[in-house]
């Protein structure tokens, strides 16, 4: 039924706007101002629905360039997901094992995974980059990055 991509995106946007509007109608009232905090969000919610409807009926087809950009092989998708997963893991570990260790692991793992095979360079960067960043942030700039399990 939904033939074009625009129509699929449009339905998604309408659902999104509906959810947003639902929340705006449940905002707490503040009686002492003429225009309350729900005024602008309501306009935005309805505006998005109108725009999405326009998009639904938008006939302009994609250019070749745009289509090509969207062609992502399944394998590439998995690679991307893996990188996303690594970033997720990095964030998760950042405050537990500290900036230096988690960055080292991330640099080594991510570069290797993406096909970088110069081991010496990888290790050199993985050790020096986080250490220099950490020391300059913590001691020069007085901005504390997570210390984690290391003693400094």
């Amino acid at each position: 039924m939904l033939k074009t991509l625009n129509q699929k995106v449009s339905i998604f946007l309408i659902l999104f706007a509906a959810g947003y509007l639902y929340l705006t109608y449940n905002l707490k009232e503040y009686p002492y101002v003429p225009v309350d905090s729900d005024f602008v969000p309501k306009i935005l919610g309805y505006l998005l629905i109108i725009l999405a409807v326009f998009l639904f009926f938008d006939k302009s087809s994609e250019t070749e360039e745009e289509k090509e950009k969207r062609q992502v092989p399944k394998k590439e998708m998995l690679v991307l997901l893996a990188v996303g997963g690594m970033i997720f893991l990095y964030i998760f570990l950042l405050e537990i094992i500290g900036f230096v260790l988690s960055s080292m692991l991330f640099i080594i793992a991510c570069s290797w995974f993406l096909g970088y095979r110069k081991l010496v360079t990888t290790f050199l960067v993985a050790v020096l980059f986080p250490l220099i960043m950490y020391l300059s942030f913590n001691y020069l700039l007085q901005i504390r990055l997570p210390q984690g399990v290391l003693p400094f």
Partner: protein, 505 residues
């Protein structure tokens, strides 16, 4: 007469060996800090404040001005090289700077940025010197209705920020505006769309959006192209060579945006971000071939860089002449003044001329230092792009993550960053432009607040919005800027068609 005398006094401060040394230190420190992920002028100045305890106030402030300048300049480097704008004032820089760097002209792009910054900075300092006292009246002339009109003008430019479908640009702008409504509402104290999460009460930070939609989304594309070695094998990406034709391209934007940027910088709240966007958009509007914008146009890079630096000095007008900080950065700057026992305000120029004029004179030196320091460094900085793709991807990812962490110190924002990276990637896959999103996000919040401030003060009367010449003028410009390009485009396409026909025959 008084001004000349004051200026001489200021020049004495700035040109003493101490003055020169500390401007130099300030500019170098500012540039380095500004290049760090996530650290813009606000953090740079806040970090430097404790260092100034006990220093001679005029020397300390001269150094601070250097830090401010350096940090604004340093921020553009990551925009151009990595598509990772560290502060909102350099988002527009990445629109054309990054494509140019990707084309293998990183050195040239950085040189254009440096020269444009220098021109914008220097011209605006002259303006600051001549008109600071007179312009203090302009700085307070804008009330909420006028700000609303100004933001409106900024938002009408959304359509022109994208090459593709206007509908898609408007949709992303609306969603960007929606994201700006998250957090405690300033006028009522109501928490909106926070789902009871304290991390969302102050809204989503600009940096999360910018680094997510721009830097992380770009990483996704780099991952796809990771085996493409084209950049590494290209000749000298650090080459600074600018041809005469290049300079000719830059001349227009530089001369116009120095003035426009300065004026916008004078208005409290508008500042470097709006100046850079309006600079970019207005140059695109009047350009002969706007199609080049967004694909590495020299004008498109020069305009925002000139404008944001000009606005940086403009922001000193309300600070020095009224004691009113017009932006987050000048608010911290005000803190730096207070630590040193100096209260900027209407009397600063009379009471402490050596401070007032010392800062202005130091800006000249600061600008010159920036240029002569940075031009020779550019070839080395540009070499970042020669790092092998897989390694570069890892480093840019950490760079973005730490940038966000250094301002919020919470992993919550990092997860948000990841989400916005994903959203940014999807947007690019489906050809939804990211620029309108970020523009609406920045302007939307201010626009809503000024609308509601106006209405509260007027007791709900909508007429307040169109009751004075300044706002009406701004609305007229908005409408013109919307209508004129459409008409001109139509003419252009007709002409092109005619051209093609005649060529074909």
């Amino acid at each position: 007469m008084g001004a000349m005398e004051g200026l001489m006094q200021g020049i004495q401060v700035a040109f003493s060996w101490q003055g020169i040394l500390f401007v130099l230190i300030g500019v170098v420190a500012g540039t380095l800090i500004g290049m760090m992920p996530g650290l813009g002028p606000i953090s740079a100045i806040a970090i430097m404040i404790p260092i100034t305890y006990g220093m001679d106030p005029s020397v300390a402030l001269v150094m601070m001005a250097g830090v401010y300048y350096g940090a604004v300049f340093g921020g553009s480097t990551s925009s151009i090289l990595l598509n990772a704008p560290g502060i909102s004032g350099t988002v527009a820089t990445s629109f054309d700077g990054y494509p140019m760097a990707q084309r293998g002209e990183a050195g040239k792009a950085l040189a254009i940025a440096a020269i444009s910054s220098f021109v914008g900075g220097t011209v605006s300092v002259v303006l600051l010197m001549l008109f600071a006292p007179a312009l203090s009246a302009v700085a307070v002339s804008f009330g909420p209705p006028q700000y609303f009109a100004l933001m409106f003008l900024g938002l009408t430019a959304i359509a022109s920020l994208s090459d593709g479908s206007t509908i898609k640009a408007l949709i992303t702008a609306t969603v960007g505006f929606m994201v700006a409504t998250i957090g405690i509402d300033g006028q009522t104290g109501t928490s909106r769309f926070t789902f009871g999460n304290p991390n969302l009460l102050e809204g989503i930070d600009f940096l999360v959006i910018a680094l997510g939609l721009f830097a992380l989304a770009e990483i996704c594309f780099l991952v796809k192209k990771r085996k493409d070695q084209s950049l590494q094998n290209q000749g000298d990406i650090g080459s600074l060579k600018l041809s005469k034709a290049d300079f000719k391209e830059m001349r227009g934007p530089m001369s116009r945006q120095s003035f426009l940027g300065f004026i916008l910088g004078v208005l409290p709240g508008a500042g470097a971000t709006i100046a850079s966007f309006i600079g970019y958009i207005s140059e695109k509007k009047i350009a002969k071939n706007p199609k080049k914008f967004g694909k590495g146009s020299i004008k498109g890079l020069s305009a925002p860089e000139t404008a944001n630096n000009a606005a940086t000095s403009g922001a000193f007008v309300p600070l020095l002449s009224l004691g009113i900080p017009g932006s987050g950065t000048t608010a911290v700057m005000l803190g730096a003044f207070l630590v040193l026992g100096i209260q900027p305000g209407p009397l600063l120029m009379a009471d402490r001329p050596e401070v007032f004029w010392g800062i202005i004179a130091s800006m000249y030196i600061g600008n010159i230092f920036l240029l002569i320091l940075n031009l020779p460094l550019i070839p080395y900085i540009a070499k970042i792009l020669k790092i092998a793709r897989p390694m570069l991807i890892s480093l840019v990812a950490i760079f973005s993550l730490i940038g966000v962490y250094a301002i919020s110190f919470s992993t919550f924002d990092l997860y948000l960053l990841l989400i916005f990276g994903f959203v940014g990637y999807l947007m690019r896959l489906f050809s939804f432009p990211a620029a309108p999103f970020i523009l609406a996000f920045i302007l939307g919040g201010m626009m809503e607040q000024s609308l509601r401030q106006s209405l509260t003060a007027a007791g709900g009367d909508m007429m307040i919005l169109i009751s004075d010449p300044v706002s009406i003028g701004l609305y007229i410009v908005s409408i013109l800027s919307f209508v004129v390009p459409i008409i001109r485009n139509r003419k252009n396409t007709q002409a092109e068609e005619a051209d093609q026909e005649s060529n074909a025959s």
